[in-house]
Amino acid sequence: MPLLEVESVSKAFGSLKALDKVSFKVEPGEIFGIAGPNGSGKSTLFNVITGIPFGPDSGRIVFDGVEIQRKAGHKIAWLGLARTFQRETSFDKLTVFENVLVSGAYGKPNRSPEEERAGALEALDIVGLPRSRHGRLAEELSVFDRKCLMLATAVAMQPKMLLLDEPASGLTRPEIETSIGLIRRIADLGVTIVLIEHVLTFLMSLSQHLLVLNQGEVLTIGNPKDVIADARVIEAYLGTRKAAV
Protein backbone atom coordinates (compact mmCIF):
# COMPACT_ATOMS: atom_id res chain seq x y z
CA MET A 1 0.00 0.00 0.00
CA PRO A 2 1.41 3.40 -0.91
CA LEU A 3 2.23 5.71 1.99
CA LEU A 4 1.00 8.82 0.20
CA GLU A 5 -1.68 8.87 -2.44
CA VAL A 6 -2.50 12.11 -4.22
CA GLU A 7 -5.61 11.85 -6.34
CA SER A 8 -6.64 14.47 -8.82
CA VAL A 9 -5.67 17.39 -6.62
CA SER A 10 -6.29 20.93 -7.86
CA LYS A 11 -5.56 24.37 -6.52
CA ALA A 12 -6.25 27.67 -8.23
CA PHE A 13 -5.29 31.24 -7.41
CA GLY A 14 -7.88 33.31 -9.18
CA SER A 15 -7.63 32.33 -12.81
CA LEU A 16 -4.22 30.73 -12.37
CA LYS A 17 -4.36 26.97 -12.05
CA ALA A 18 -1.36 26.30 -9.85
CA LEU A 19 -2.25 22.60 -9.63
CA ASP A 20 -4.50 20.87 -12.10
CA LYS A 21 -5.71 17.35 -11.31
CA VAL A 22 -2.38 16.09 -10.06
CA SER A 23 -2.21 12.41 -9.10
CA PHE A 24 0.68 10.23 -7.97
CA LYS A 25 1.67 7.71 -5.32
CA VAL A 26 4.67 7.42 -3.06
CA GLU A 27 5.66 4.00 -1.75
CA PRO A 28 7.01 3.59 1.76
CA GLY A 29 10.78 3.82 2.06
CA GLU A 30 11.51 5.42 -1.28
CA ILE A 31 13.00 8.76 -2.20
CA PHE A 32 10.63 10.44 -4.58
CA GLY A 33 11.85 13.40 -6.62
CA ILE A 34 9.81 16.28 -7.99
CA ALA A 35 11.08 18.68 -10.61
CA GLY A 36 9.56 21.23 -12.92
CA PRO A 37 9.95 24.74 -14.21
CA ASN A 38 9.66 27.71 -11.93
CA GLY A 39 6.10 28.33 -10.93
CA SER A 40 4.94 24.91 -12.04
CA GLY A 41 3.31 24.28 -8.69
CA LYS A 42 5.85 22.21 -6.79
CA SER A 43 5.81 24.24 -3.59
CA THR A 44 2.07 24.63 -3.90
CA LEU A 45 1.81 20.86 -4.01
CA PHE A 46 3.64 20.61 -0.70
CA ASN A 47 1.41 23.30 0.68
CA VAL A 48 -1.80 21.51 -0.15
CA ILE A 49 -0.53 18.15 1.06
CA THR A 50 0.48 19.53 4.46
CA GLY A 51 -2.45 21.93 4.72
CA ILE A 52 -0.05 24.80 5.34
CA PRO A 53 -1.25 27.39 4.78
CA PHE A 54 -4.10 25.92 2.75
CA GLY A 55 -5.49 22.61 1.59
CA PRO A 56 -6.49 21.75 -2.00
CA ASP A 57 -9.57 23.10 -3.74
CA SER A 58 -10.52 19.61 -4.78
CA GLY A 59 -9.13 16.11 -4.92
CA ARG A 60 -8.21 13.51 -2.38
CA ILE A 61 -5.01 13.03 -0.42
CA VAL A 62 -4.50 9.87 1.60
CA PHE A 63 -1.56 9.57 3.92
CA ASP A 64 -0.90 6.32 5.69
CA GLY A 65 -4.49 5.27 5.21
CA VAL A 66 -5.99 8.55 6.46
CA GLU A 67 -7.69 11.15 4.29
CA ILE A 68 -6.00 14.45 5.04
CA GLN A 69 -7.20 16.94 2.45
CA ARG A 70 -9.49 18.65 4.95
CA LYS A 71 -7.36 18.28 8.07
CA ALA A 72 -5.68 21.15 9.91
CA GLY A 73 -1.93 21.53 9.43
CA HIS A 74 -0.85 20.51 12.90
CA LYS A 75 -2.99 17.40 12.82
CA ILE A 76 -1.43 16.34 9.56
CA ALA A 77 1.94 16.80 11.22
CA TRP A 78 0.87 14.52 14.05
CA LEU A 79 0.19 11.77 11.54
CA GLY A 80 3.89 11.74 10.77
CA LEU A 81 4.15 14.05 7.80
CA ALA A 82 6.91 16.65 8.11
CA ARG A 83 8.02 19.26 5.63
CA THR A 84 10.67 21.89 5.10
CA PHE A 85 10.27 25.20 3.36
CA GLN A 86 11.89 26.67 0.29
CA ARG A 87 13.62 29.49 2.16
CA GLU A 88 15.52 28.66 5.29
CA THR A 89 13.05 29.05 8.11
CA SER A 90 13.62 28.89 11.82
CA PHE A 91 12.24 30.04 15.13
CA ASP A 92 14.68 32.90 15.28
CA LYS A 93 14.49 33.73 18.96
CA LEU A 94 14.76 30.19 20.19
CA THR A 95 18.07 28.46 20.57
CA VAL A 96 19.05 25.70 18.21
CA PHE A 97 18.26 23.12 20.84
CA GLU A 98 14.90 24.65 21.65
CA ASN A 99 14.00 24.75 17.96
CA VAL A 100 14.44 21.02 17.77
CA LEU A 101 13.02 20.25 21.18
CA VAL A 102 9.78 22.10 20.60
CA SER A 103 9.33 20.53 17.18
CA GLY A 104 9.81 17.07 18.55
CA ALA A 105 7.62 17.65 21.57
CA TYR A 106 4.69 18.91 19.55
CA GLY A 107 5.30 17.03 16.32
CA LYS A 108 5.32 13.70 18.06
CA PRO A 109 3.23 14.08 21.18
CA ASN A 110 2.85 11.71 24.09
CA ARG A 111 6.44 11.12 24.91
CA SER A 112 8.14 11.64 28.25
CA PRO A 113 10.31 14.74 28.67
CA GLU A 114 13.39 12.54 28.71
CA GLU A 115 12.45 10.92 25.43
CA GLU A 116 11.80 14.31 23.92
CA ARG A 117 15.20 15.60 24.93
CA ALA A 118 16.98 12.49 23.83
CA GLY A 119 15.13 12.64 20.53
CA ALA A 120 16.13 16.26 20.02
CA LEU A 121 19.80 15.53 20.67
CA GLU A 122 19.66 12.61 18.31
CA ALA A 123 18.12 14.71 15.56
CA LEU A 124 20.83 17.32 16.00
CA ASP A 125 23.46 14.63 15.82
CA ILE A 126 21.97 13.23 12.63
CA VAL A 127 22.17 16.55 10.81
CA GLY A 128 25.58 17.16 12.31
CA LEU A 129 25.00 20.32 14.30
CA PRO A 130 27.70 20.21 16.95
CA ARG A 131 26.99 20.63 20.64
CA SER A 132 28.83 23.94 20.63
CA ARG A 133 26.07 25.44 18.56
CA HIS A 134 23.09 24.10 20.50
CA GLY A 135 22.88 27.17 22.67
CA ARG A 136 23.03 29.70 19.84
CA LEU A 137 19.95 31.57 18.76
CA ALA A 138 18.72 30.24 15.44
CA GLU A 139 18.91 33.67 13.81
CA GLU A 140 22.66 33.74 14.40
CA LEU A 141 23.33 30.67 12.29
CA SER A 142 24.80 30.60 8.81
CA VAL A 143 22.65 29.63 5.85
CA PHE A 144 23.82 26.06 5.76
CA ASP A 145 23.39 25.56 9.48
CA ARG A 146 19.91 26.96 9.25
CA LYS A 147 19.05 24.50 6.53
CA CYS A 148 20.42 21.72 8.72
CA LEU A 149 18.45 23.00 11.65
CA MET A 150 15.24 23.01 9.65
CA LEU A 151 15.96 19.42 8.73
CA ALA A 152 16.71 18.55 12.35
CA THR A 153 13.38 19.95 13.51
CA ALA A 154 11.68 17.74 10.96
CA VAL A 155 13.69 14.68 11.95
CA ALA A 156 12.90 15.28 15.62
CA MET A 157 9.24 14.71 14.81
CA GLN A 158 10.21 11.14 13.89
CA PRO A 159 8.03 11.41 10.82
CA LYS A 160 7.01 8.67 8.47
CA MET A 161 7.46 10.97 5.54
CA LEU A 162 9.54 14.04 4.95
CA LEU A 163 8.80 16.62 2.25
CA LEU A 164 11.88 18.63 1.31
CA ASP A 165 11.55 21.81 -0.74
CA GLU A 166 14.80 22.66 -2.52
CA PRO A 167 17.16 21.62 0.27
CA ALA A 168 20.23 22.21 -1.88
CA SER A 169 19.55 25.65 -3.26
CA GLY A 170 22.31 28.09 -2.50
CA LEU A 171 24.67 25.45 -1.21
CA THR A 172 28.28 25.02 -2.26
CA ARG A 173 29.46 21.81 -3.83
CA PRO A 174 30.91 20.38 -0.65
CA GLU A 175 27.77 21.25 1.20
CA ILE A 176 25.70 19.55 -1.44
CA GLU A 177 27.77 16.42 -0.99
CA THR A 178 27.20 16.60 2.73
CA SER A 179 23.47 17.07 2.24
CA ILE A 180 23.23 14.06 -0.02
CA GLY A 181 24.81 11.93 2.67
CA LEU A 182 22.56 13.41 5.25
CA ILE A 183 19.38 12.69 3.33
CA ARG A 184 20.53 9.14 2.65
CA ARG A 185 21.06 8.69 6.37
CA ILE A 186 17.57 9.94 7.12
CA ALA A 187 16.12 7.66 4.47
CA ASP A 188 18.00 4.77 6.01
CA LEU A 189 16.12 5.41 9.25
CA GLY A 190 13.04 4.33 7.35
CA VAL A 191 11.71 7.79 6.50
CA THR A 192 10.07 8.14 3.12
CA ILE A 193 11.28 11.28 1.36
CA VAL A 194 9.72 13.51 -1.24
CA LEU A 195 12.19 15.95 -2.68
CA ILE A 196 11.80 19.09 -4.78
CA GLU A 197 15.04 20.25 -6.33
CA HIS A 198 16.48 22.17 -9.25
CA VAL A 199 20.05 21.06 -8.64
CA LEU A 200 20.01 18.07 -10.95
CA THR A 201 22.97 16.20 -9.62
CA PHE A 202 21.37 16.23 -6.26
CA LEU A 203 18.02 15.10 -7.51
CA MET A 204 19.43 12.41 -9.74
CA SER A 205 21.71 10.90 -7.18
CA LEU A 206 18.95 10.56 -4.62
CA SER A 207 15.57 9.87 -6.18
CA GLN A 208 14.21 6.52 -7.15
CA HIS A 209 11.14 7.97 -8.85
CA LEU A 210 10.91 11.34 -10.52
CA LEU A 211 7.83 13.39 -11.19
CA VAL A 212 7.93 16.43 -13.42
CA LEU A 213 5.29 19.10 -13.07
CA ASN A 214 4.57 21.64 -15.74
CA GLN A 215 2.06 24.43 -15.37
CA GLY A 216 0.31 22.61 -12.60
CA GLU A 217 -0.02 19.35 -14.46
CA VAL A 218 1.93 16.14 -14.25
CA LEU A 219 4.16 16.08 -17.29
CA THR A 220 5.63 12.69 -16.65
CA ILE A 221 6.49 10.34 -13.88
CA GLY A 222 8.84 7.41 -13.73
CA ASN A 223 12.40 6.24 -13.49
CA PRO A 224 14.68 9.33 -13.21
CA LYS A 225 16.97 8.31 -16.07
CA ASP A 226 14.03 7.87 -18.43
CA VAL A 227 12.34 11.00 -17.26
CA ILE A 228 15.20 13.32 -17.98
CA ALA A 229 15.64 11.81 -21.36
CA ASP A 230 12.02 12.60 -22.19
CA ALA A 231 11.88 15.21 -24.93
CA ARG A 232 9.01 17.04 -23.29
CA VAL A 233 10.93 17.36 -20.06
CA ILE A 234 13.93 18.69 -21.90
CA GLU A 235 11.79 21.14 -23.76
CA ALA A 236 9.90 22.43 -20.73
CA TYR A 237 12.42 22.15 -18.00
CA LEU A 238 15.95 21.10 -18.69
CA GLY A 239 16.89 23.02 -21.75
CA THR A 240 19.27 21.70 -24.35
CA ARG A 241 22.64 21.37 -22.75
CA LYS A 242 21.82 20.06 -19.31
CA ALA A 243 20.07 17.10 -20.85
CA ALA A 244 23.42 15.47 -21.12
CA VAL A 245 24.03 15.41 -17.36
Binding site: F13, A35, G36, P37, N38, G39, K42, S43, T44, Q86, R87, S142, V143, F144, E166, S169, G170, L171, T172, R173, P174, E175, H198, V199, L200, A236, Y237, L238, G239, T240, R241, K242
Partner: protein, 237 residues
Protein backbone atom coordinates in the same frame (compact mmCIF):
# COMPACT_ATOMS: atom_id res chain seq x y z
CA UNK B 1 47.38 47.17 -14.24
CA UNK B 2 44.06 48.69 -13.31
CA UNK B 3 40.47 47.69 -13.57
CA UNK B 4 37.13 49.38 -13.62
CA UNK B 5 36.60 48.68 -9.95
CA UNK B 6 39.57 48.75 -7.61
CA UNK B 7 39.21 47.54 -4.07
CA UNK B 8 42.16 48.11 -1.80
CA UNK B 9 42.63 46.92 1.76
CA UNK B 10 38.92 46.86 2.43
CA UNK B 11 37.74 46.05 5.93
CA UNK B 12 34.03 45.83 6.66
CA UNK B 13 31.61 43.98 8.88
CA UNK B 14 28.59 44.06 11.13
CA UNK B 15 28.43 45.20 14.73
CA UNK B 16 31.59 44.28 16.52
CA UNK B 17 32.64 41.72 13.97
CA UNK B 18 34.76 42.32 10.90
CA UNK B 19 33.79 40.08 8.02
CA UNK B 20 36.20 41.37 5.41
CA UNK B 21 39.81 41.77 6.38
CA UNK B 22 42.10 43.94 4.31
CA UNK B 23 40.68 42.62 1.09
CA UNK B 24 42.20 43.75 -2.16
CA UNK B 25 40.71 42.94 -5.54
CA UNK B 26 40.64 44.29 -9.06
CA UNK B 27 37.54 43.96 -11.13
CA UNK B 28 37.17 44.59 -14.83
CA UNK B 29 40.75 44.24 -15.92
CA UNK B 30 40.26 40.73 -17.25
CA UNK B 31 36.62 40.71 -18.24
CA UNK B 32 33.86 39.43 -16.07
CA UNK B 33 34.66 38.50 -12.53
CA UNK B 34 33.36 35.50 -10.68
CA UNK B 35 33.52 35.12 -6.93
CA UNK B 36 33.17 31.82 -5.20
CA UNK B 37 33.91 30.29 -1.87
CA UNK B 38 32.29 28.66 1.06
CA UNK B 39 29.07 29.96 2.56
CA UNK B 40 29.30 32.76 5.04
CA UNK B 41 32.79 33.91 4.21
CA UNK B 42 31.99 37.39 3.03
CA UNK B 43 31.11 37.36 -0.64
CA UNK B 44 27.79 39.02 -0.08
CA UNK B 45 29.33 41.40 2.39
CA UNK B 46 31.88 42.43 -0.20
CA UNK B 47 29.17 43.15 -2.74
CA UNK B 48 27.19 45.07 -0.16
CA UNK B 49 30.21 47.13 0.68
CA UNK B 50 30.70 47.92 -2.98
CA UNK B 51 27.16 49.15 -3.38
CA UNK B 52 27.25 51.12 -0.16
CA UNK B 53 24.93 48.98 1.94
CA UNK B 54 27.71 48.15 4.38
CA UNK B 55 30.12 50.73 5.64
CA UNK B 56 33.72 50.32 4.65
CA UNK B 57 35.67 50.56 7.89
CA UNK B 58 38.93 51.15 6.12
CA UNK B 59 40.36 50.86 2.66
CA UNK B 60 39.09 52.27 -0.57
CA UNK B 61 36.77 51.32 -3.39
CA UNK B 62 37.32 53.14 -6.65
CA UNK B 63 34.88 52.90 -9.50
CA UNK B 64 35.93 54.44 -12.80
CA UNK B 65 38.41 56.59 -10.93
CA UNK B 66 36.06 57.97 -8.26
CA UNK B 67 36.28 56.80 -4.68
CA UNK B 68 32.89 55.38 -3.83
CA UNK B 69 33.68 53.93 -0.42
CA UNK B 70 31.00 55.14 1.96
CA UNK B 71 29.06 57.00 -0.66
CA UNK B 72 25.32 56.56 -0.40
CA UNK B 73 23.91 53.56 -2.25
CA UNK B 74 21.82 56.01 -4.21
CA UNK B 75 24.78 57.83 -5.68
CA UNK B 76 26.51 54.54 -6.41
CA UNK B 77 23.49 53.30 -8.34
CA UNK B 78 23.47 56.66 -10.01
CA UNK B 79 26.94 55.88 -11.36
CA UNK B 80 25.59 52.72 -12.94
CA UNK B 81 26.95 50.21 -10.47
CA UNK B 82 23.92 48.00 -10.13
CA UNK B 83 23.54 45.17 -7.67
CA UNK B 84 20.96 42.41 -7.76
CA UNK B 85 21.07 41.13 -4.25
CA UNK B 86 21.02 37.63 -2.89
CA UNK B 87 17.77 35.90 -1.93
CA UNK B 88 16.09 39.16 -2.65
CA UNK B 89 12.63 39.41 -1.26
CA UNK B 90 12.15 42.59 -3.23
CA UNK B 91 8.96 44.54 -2.66
CA UNK B 92 6.43 41.92 -1.65
CA UNK B 93 3.37 44.13 -2.05
CA UNK B 94 4.25 45.67 -5.38
CA UNK B 95 3.31 44.08 -8.65
CA UNK B 96 5.95 42.87 -11.05
CA UNK B 97 5.28 45.88 -13.25
CA UNK B 98 5.76 48.28 -10.38
CA UNK B 99 8.97 46.57 -9.33
CA UNK B 100 10.43 46.95 -12.77
CA UNK B 101 9.32 50.57 -12.91
CA UNK B 102 11.15 51.20 -9.66
CA UNK B 103 14.25 49.64 -11.14
CA UNK B 104 14.33 52.57 -13.53
CA UNK B 105 14.16 55.12 -10.74
CA UNK B 106 17.49 56.82 -11.21
CA UNK B 107 17.63 59.60 -13.82
CA UNK B 108 20.30 57.61 -15.58
CA UNK B 109 17.96 54.65 -16.01
CA UNK B 110 14.85 56.62 -16.74
CA UNK B 111 16.04 57.59 -20.18
CA UNK B 112 16.47 53.96 -21.18
CA UNK B 113 13.38 52.61 -19.47
CA UNK B 114 11.65 51.37 -22.62
CA UNK B 115 14.65 49.56 -24.01
CA UNK B 116 15.59 48.01 -20.71
CA UNK B 117 12.09 46.76 -20.13
CA UNK B 118 12.05 45.06 -23.49
CA UNK B 119 15.37 43.47 -22.76
CA UNK B 120 14.23 42.16 -19.37
CA UNK B 121 11.00 40.80 -20.78
CA UNK B 122 12.87 39.07 -23.54
CA UNK B 123 14.98 37.19 -21.03
CA UNK B 124 12.06 36.42 -18.71
CA UNK B 125 8.88 36.36 -20.80
CA UNK B 126 7.09 35.02 -17.75
CA UNK B 127 7.33 38.41 -16.10
CA UNK B 128 5.22 39.89 -18.86
CA UNK B 129 2.57 37.23 -18.38
CA UNK B 130 2.35 37.99 -14.70
CA UNK B 131 2.72 41.76 -15.00
CA UNK B 132 0.11 42.57 -12.34
CA UNK B 133 0.81 39.76 -9.88
CA UNK B 134 2.13 40.77 -6.51
CA UNK B 135 5.68 39.70 -5.79
CA UNK B 136 4.57 38.18 -2.50
CA UNK B 137 2.67 35.45 -4.29
CA UNK B 138 5.34 34.48 -6.78
CA UNK B 139 7.19 31.20 -6.66
CA UNK B 140 10.81 31.23 -5.54
CA UNK B 141 12.18 31.12 -9.04
CA UNK B 142 9.78 33.73 -10.32
CA UNK B 143 10.93 36.11 -7.62
CA UNK B 144 14.51 35.58 -8.65
CA UNK B 145 13.54 36.57 -12.18
CA UNK B 146 11.97 39.79 -10.94
CA UNK B 147 15.07 40.54 -8.96
CA UNK B 148 17.37 40.25 -11.94
CA UNK B 149 14.88 42.00 -14.16
CA UNK B 150 14.76 44.95 -11.79
CA UNK B 151 18.54 45.19 -11.81
CA UNK B 152 18.53 45.25 -15.60
CA UNK B 153 16.01 48.09 -15.48
CA UNK B 154 18.58 50.22 -13.66
CA UNK B 155 20.57 50.46 -16.86
CA UNK B 156 23.78 49.13 -15.37
CA UNK B 157 27.27 50.21 -16.36
CA UNK B 158 28.50 47.32 -14.29
CA UNK B 159 26.22 44.55 -13.11
CA UNK B 160 26.65 42.74 -9.84
CA UNK B 161 24.76 39.48 -9.48
CA UNK B 162 24.65 37.68 -6.14
CA UNK B 163 23.72 34.04 -6.65
CA UNK B 164 21.46 34.78 -9.60
CA UNK B 165 20.56 31.15 -10.29
CA UNK B 166 19.26 30.45 -6.83
CA UNK B 167 16.13 28.38 -7.26
CA UNK B 168 16.01 28.68 -11.04
CA UNK B 169 15.11 25.72 -13.20
CA UNK B 170 17.93 24.44 -15.44
CA UNK B 171 16.38 25.75 -18.60
CA UNK B 172 15.87 29.22 -17.20
CA UNK B 173 19.39 29.13 -15.87
CA UNK B 174 20.67 28.40 -19.32
CA UNK B 175 18.63 31.18 -20.85
CA UNK B 176 19.76 33.53 -18.15
CA UNK B 177 23.34 32.60 -18.82
CA UNK B 178 22.98 33.33 -22.48
CA UNK B 179 21.21 36.61 -21.84
CA UNK B 180 23.73 37.80 -19.32
CA UNK B 181 26.54 36.99 -21.68
CA UNK B 182 24.76 39.03 -24.31
CA UNK B 183 24.52 41.93 -21.94
CA UNK B 184 28.15 41.74 -21.01
CA UNK B 185 29.08 41.45 -24.66
CA UNK B 186 27.31 44.77 -25.04
CA UNK B 187 30.00 46.31 -22.85
CA UNK B 188 28.64 45.86 -19.36
CA UNK B 189 31.12 44.03 -17.15
CA UNK B 190 29.77 41.55 -14.68
CA UNK B 191 30.56 40.57 -11.12
CA UNK B 192 28.95 37.27 -10.28
CA UNK B 193 28.80 35.31 -7.09
CA UNK B 194 27.61 31.82 -7.76
CA UNK B 195 27.67 28.36 -6.24
CA UNK B 196 26.98 26.64 -9.54
CA UNK B 197 30.51 26.30 -10.81
CA UNK B 198 29.62 25.49 -14.41
CA UNK B 199 27.53 28.58 -14.62
CA UNK B 200 30.30 30.62 -13.07
CA UNK B 201 32.93 29.32 -15.44
CA UNK B 202 30.73 30.02 -18.37
CA UNK B 203 30.18 33.62 -17.40
CA UNK B 204 33.54 34.69 -16.14
CA UNK B 205 37.14 34.33 -17.00
CA UNK B 206 38.55 35.95 -13.94
CA UNK B 207 37.85 34.17 -10.65
CA UNK B 208 38.46 34.92 -7.03
CA UNK B 209 38.12 32.49 -4.20
CA UNK B 210 36.94 34.37 -1.13
CA UNK B 211 37.70 32.69 2.14
CA UNK B 212 37.60 34.11 5.63
CA UNK B 213 36.97 37.58 4.27
CA UNK B 214 40.08 37.61 2.16
CA UNK B 215 41.09 36.67 -1.33
CA UNK B 216 42.44 33.16 -0.99
CA UNK B 217 43.16 32.56 -4.64
CA UNK B 218 42.93 34.38 -7.93
CA UNK B 219 42.56 32.71 -11.28
CA UNK B 220 43.27 34.88 -14.25
CA UNK B 221 42.01 34.15 -17.75
CA UNK B 222 45.08 32.48 -19.15
CA UNK B 223 45.28 30.06 -16.29
CA UNK B 224 43.20 27.11 -17.23
CA UNK B 225 41.22 25.84 -14.42
CA UNK B 226 39.03 22.81 -14.50
CA UNK B 227 36.13 21.86 -12.40
CA UNK B 228 38.25 19.46 -10.45
CA UNK B 229 40.80 22.11 -9.53
CA UNK B 230 38.11 24.36 -8.18
CA UNK B 231 36.73 21.54 -6.14
CA UNK B 232 40.16 20.98 -4.77
CA UNK B 233 40.36 24.63 -3.80
CA UNK B 234 37.08 24.34 -1.98
CA UNK B 235 37.96 21.28 -0.06
CA UNK B 236 41.52 22.20 0.56
CA UNK B 237 40.72 25.33 2.60
Amino acid sequence: MSGLLEITNLTAGYGRIDVLHDLTMTIGAHGNVGLFGPNGHGKTTLLRAISGLVKARSGSIRFGGADIANQTPRSIVGLGLVHSSQGNRLFPDLTIGECLALGAYTPRARAQEEANRERALKIFPKLGERWNQKVRTLSGGERQMVSIGTALMSNPAMLILDEPTLGLAPKVKEELCRAVLDISAGGIPLVVVEQDVEFLLELSQHLYLVNHGQVAAEIKPGQTMGHADIMALYFGQ
